[in-house]
Symmetry: C2
Subunit: 215 residues, 2 copies
């Protein structure tokens, strides 16, 4: 299956592209195709140097929607509405949300939209797409450190069983990540809230790149 | 420090008493002193048989408040108000909440009170106590399996730094639990919500007694 990443040039998006391209055909999307091309070149050079395989191509975000079977939203939650407004043809697609809406103060605070979570908001905006929440709690920096094993637990939530299964397989295809069925999309509120929690834990306990394991 | 457990004859309360009594003086509280006595006898017999030390005494819940430095609320959240109404003298005490309000349907759902979490509700009811949330996500059955190592991460939340530190030390004194400062008491909403999440993960992935590790 072709995986496309909306916001594929951002920190997490780029790291995901690197990781996913080891086993999948990946389309790096950006608002501007030049930006996607430049980021894609960087990724290819980097992987070539490491002697790793890659199967990456650049595109606009709309190109991602047009050509990918799985569309990952790796964008800041505050740009969600404007991004959705700029796209057509998401109906019927598997749409993955890894967004975690939060605010920074003395500590990071989970600030969900009124739907209850960013994934639920995305599903409300795209009633004919199949939204699955996944990859929420992986420390951002770890995506890019491609020589390091990723062995975290990854909660996968969604109301579409078949598509949830496909995303669980996608999760399990990356390094040593372990996909866990965490239930319906409504549960994504708790999963998203774990991201500010782990950032706070890292800060308050002098830890780095804290991830989650459910065992 | 003397640790008293309100609801110390319940599943988790009894398991906590067994574990804590290895290193601390523990008061097992119950609404009825006879019930506390009978549960305390069970615990002492059990520990004696295993050749383990114990330092346990029974009391009423009010006796716990009168004699313990740390008062643990190991009761179902729905009995919180009636329990608080029956007690006096909690002012100034360190009060530990491990309550996780949830509802069972197709899956377990976190249903916080209007304060945002059970710990925040307890702090509102007891404005002169120092409420700390801890021990929320430890699988219930694991408390009692005293021969098994407990090595989970334990989020500790609270707005009183000194008392939070005391509870973190209490956590670290039990088996191989690892206390983590998770921030202010407001963060307890996320920590409490992790309990239904791990129960759901266990159910949907055919796992047992799922706990959490932040690493």
């Amino acid at each position: 299956m072709k995986v496309g990443i909306i916001g594929g040039t951002g920190g997490i998006g780029k790291g995901m592209a690197l990781r996913l391209s080891q086993n999948h055909e990946v389309i790096i999307g950006s608002r501007k195709e030049e930006k996607a091309s430049s980021s894609c070149d960087d990724c290819c050079d980097f992987l070539k140097e490491l002697g790793l395989p890659f199967n990456l191509m650049p595109s606009t975000n709309q190109g991602v929607v047009d050509n990918a079977d799985i569309v990952v939203f790796a964008i800041p939650p505050e740009t969600l509405q404007v991004t959705i407004d700029s796209l057509t043809g998401l109906e019927g697609k598997i749409v993955v949300s890894l967004m975690n809406p939060m605010e920074k103060g003395d500590y990071f605070k989970y600030v969900p939209p009124e739907e209850g979570s960013a994934a639920l908001e995305l599903q409300r905006m795209l009633p004919q797409s199949k939204v699955i929440a996944a990859f929420n709690n992986i420390p951002a920096k770890k995506w890019n450190q491609i020589s390091e094993v990723l062995d975290y637990s990854v909660c996968v939530c969604g109301d579409h069983d078949e598509e949830k299964q496909i995303i669980m397989e996608l999760v399990n295809s990356i390094s040593e990540l372990e996909a866990l069925n965490a239930g319906p999309l409504a549960v994504s509120a708790t999963v998203e809230a774990i991201t500010p929690l782990v950032i706070n834990i890292a800060k308050f306990n002098k830890m780095r790149d804290v991830g989650v394991y459910f065992r």
